[in-house]
């Protein structure tokens, strides 16, 4: 609870700092944090890889935009319906893919991600193809439109903090323990009365729900979506965020998201260097900091401090 309070204070400081740039950066962070948290629940806590998570974000975004534009639904209603649909689709995908594990699961989820991306490009009548959909109505509260950074900021972070609280509760609940049991050893988990497949499907649905919320808010906030941001590259970036956070650890994942958002800002002037950096970073983190970047840096700092103190002690004697 203290962490949530600290987060709220930090967010308030950002909000009232008056810096439009900072505000935008944090809105982006919140929108990335939602799918990343979902992926962390699936990968970190339940031990199931997904290389197609960008697809759920895309489904949320396109679902909400299409419902809003073609059926003329109220943006809030469209958002809810799209998130519900994404959750249901995630459950069905889970029902399909969790017959597999390891490499096969990874490849099946990757294929799912590519199929959805190709579909958003090819189904021109519905999605507008490469040109995308524009003119998506913003969300509004009492006639006040949430179309700008300053307006969407409180709502995006409200959703994000709610997601954090739900995830924390879930992880601490008995269900959270069964998730970790499944991640550790499925056979053992099954032998003590856990149904691993049903659990995985449920976590996949929650994970898809998180991603769908992020995507739907993104669509109404920008007012324009195209297939580009929901490609395999985005799935890999989500993977990187979760890996930087050490997979399991709600707050560490939030740090991973912030780290990727900030580095992509820093790397912007260097053009397309960011992809190489992301790839190399993913490899380095996986090899040297399996518990996340923060933990890796802490360990390195402690080792360095020990070496320095022993060197100083050696000189003293």
């Amino acid at each position: 609870m203290r962490r949530v309070a600290l987060l709220v204070v930090a967010l308030a400081a950002v909000y009232f700092s008056g810096s439009g740039y900072l505000l935008n950066l944090f809105v982006v962070t919140a929108l990335f944090a939602l799918p990343a948290l979902g992926l962390s629940l699936l990968m970190g806590y339940t031990g199931q890889i997904s290389l197609g998570h960008a697809a759920f974000v895309g489904l949320g975004a396109y679902g909400s935009a299409i419902l809003c534009k073609s059926l003329g639904l109220n943006p809030w209603l469209a958002l809810l319906a799209a998130v519900a649909a994404t959750t249901a689709i995630a459950w069905v995908i889970g029902w399909l893919v969790f017959r597999l594990r390891g490499h096969h699961l990874a490849m099946a989820t990757l294929a799912f991600g590519i199929i959805v991306h190709v579909a958003t490009v090819e189904m021109k009548g519905l999605t507008g193809g490469q040109d995308g959909l524009s003119g998506i109505a913003p969300l509004s509260i009492f006639g006040f439109e949430l179309g700008t950074d300053a307006a969407i900021f409180p709502f995006a972070w409200l959703a994000c903090v709610a997601a954090i609280l739900v995830a924390e509760n879930l992880v601490r609940s008995p269900a959270g323990l069964t998730m970790r049991a499944v991640a550790e050893n499925e056979a053992v988990a099954a032998s003590v009365g856990i149904a691993p497949d049903a659990l995985k499907r449920r976590i996949m649905a929650i994970s898809g729900c998180y991603a769908g919320v992020g995507g739907a808010i993104y669509a109404h906030y920008l007012g324009y979506i195209s297939p580009g941001p929901f490609d395999v590259g985005f799935s890999v970036r989500l993977l990187l965020m979760v890996a930087l956070g050490g997979f399991a650890g709600i707050w560490n994942v939030l740090f991973g998201v912030l780290f990727v958002v900030v580095t992509s800002e820093v790397l912007k002037p260097f053009g397309r260097f960011d992809v190489v950096i992301y790839g190399v970073l993913l490899v380095i983190v996986m090899i040297y900091c399996p518990r996340g970047l923060l933990d890796g840096l802490q360990t390195a700092a402690r080792a360095l401090a020990r070496r320095l103190s022993s060197a100083a002690g050696g000189r003293g004697s």
């Binding site: 490499h103 294929a111 190489v276 992301y278 996986m286």
Partner: protein, 289 residues
């Protein structure tokens, strides 16, 4: 009838490429237990590398050989830098090879940009007429090279001392190491073979299909599907699986619609994963619970 023969011919050409990439997957998987998600990037980099060398004034045969060897060595380097320190964990292995693949793609964008690049055909563009079926001369190069390479690899693995040591390592790395086989060297060799074969596949198909920075991922997935069809870890199955996938794709493209071409591979992938994950020829390791 001619139509069917034409589809079969083009299917076999593409299938030979998928088969080669699938063999690359198999070589690495059998020795290290890792599915190299960067496998397709080897083909892409091989092709773009040959194109770059050609543009730098290197004659075509030398450019092809140099590019293929360079990618083989790149494979060894990747094994040494990224795969070996990671240990045997499957999830880590997957994520690391994905990281490697993304980096290679990023490097390709930096060096060659996002445009597609052509490689001139090895022996002219004049189509050859084979009893009513016309094929570009490059198609013969593809099929011939693939067949020669597959036979060469088969002889290497079954007739040479090094190949036998390699296979011993694939069957049981621990037992092989007790017999004095340097397993670390065999791991490096597996990545060299996989890089070399992948690069050659990319180079020989480049004159028919344009290559760009993101061509690798599709080639990689098709190669993986070929492995699934043939049974993962089975090199002969991988080659046959590649041919089968190429044929299926060509027939579906011809009789249904070209828009479905990529979808076919995924449908086959899903169908096999769910119905027969051990492939047609069976698998070395059980994948299903």
């Amino acid at each position: 009838m001619t139509e069917l023969a034409q589809y079969v011919a083009s299917g076999l050409v593409v299938g030979a490429i998928y088969g080669l990439i699938a063999i690359g997957f198999t070589a690495v998987y059998n020795v290290t237990g890792i599915v190299n998600f960067a496998q397709g990037e080897f083909a892409m980099l091989g092709a773009l590398g040959a194109i770059g060398l050609l543009a730098a004034g290197v004659p075509l045969p030398a450019a092809v050989i140099l590019a293929a060897l360079a990618i083989g060595l790149l494979g060894v380097l990747i094994e040494w830098l990224a795969i070996r320190p990671a240990g045997p964990d499957v999830l880590r292995g997957i994520i690391i090879t994905i990281g490697v693949g993304v980096s290679l793609q990023g490097v390709a964008v930096l060096v060659w940009g996002t445009d597609a690049h052509p490689l001139p055909a090895f022996s002219g563009e004049k189509p050859i007429d084979l009893g009513g079926v016309t094929v570009p001369p490059q198609a013969l190069w593809v099929v011939g090279t693939a067949a020669a390479l597959m036979c060469g690899l088969y002889l290497f693995f079954t007739r040479t001392y090094l190949g036998k040591a390699f296979r011993a390592c694939a069957l049981n790395a621990f037992a092989a190491s007790l017999m004095g086989i340097p397993t670390a060297a065999m791991r490096a060799l597996s990545f060299f073979v996989s890089g070399l074969v992948g690069a050659i596949a990319g180079i020989i198909v480049a004159p028919i299909a344009l290559m760009q920075y993101d061509s690798g991922i599709f080639l990689g997935i098709k190669g993986f599907v070929a492995c699934i069809i043939g049974g993962f870890g089975n090199p002969i199955g991988a080659a046959l699986g590649g041919l089968a996938l190429g044929l299926l794709e060509a027939l579906a493209t011809g009789y249904l619609s070209s828009g479905y071409k990529n979808a076919i591979a995924f449908v086959v992938l899903l169908a096999f994963l769910f119905a027969r994950p051990g492939g047609i020829l069976g698998e070395l390791e059980e994948v299903r619970r």
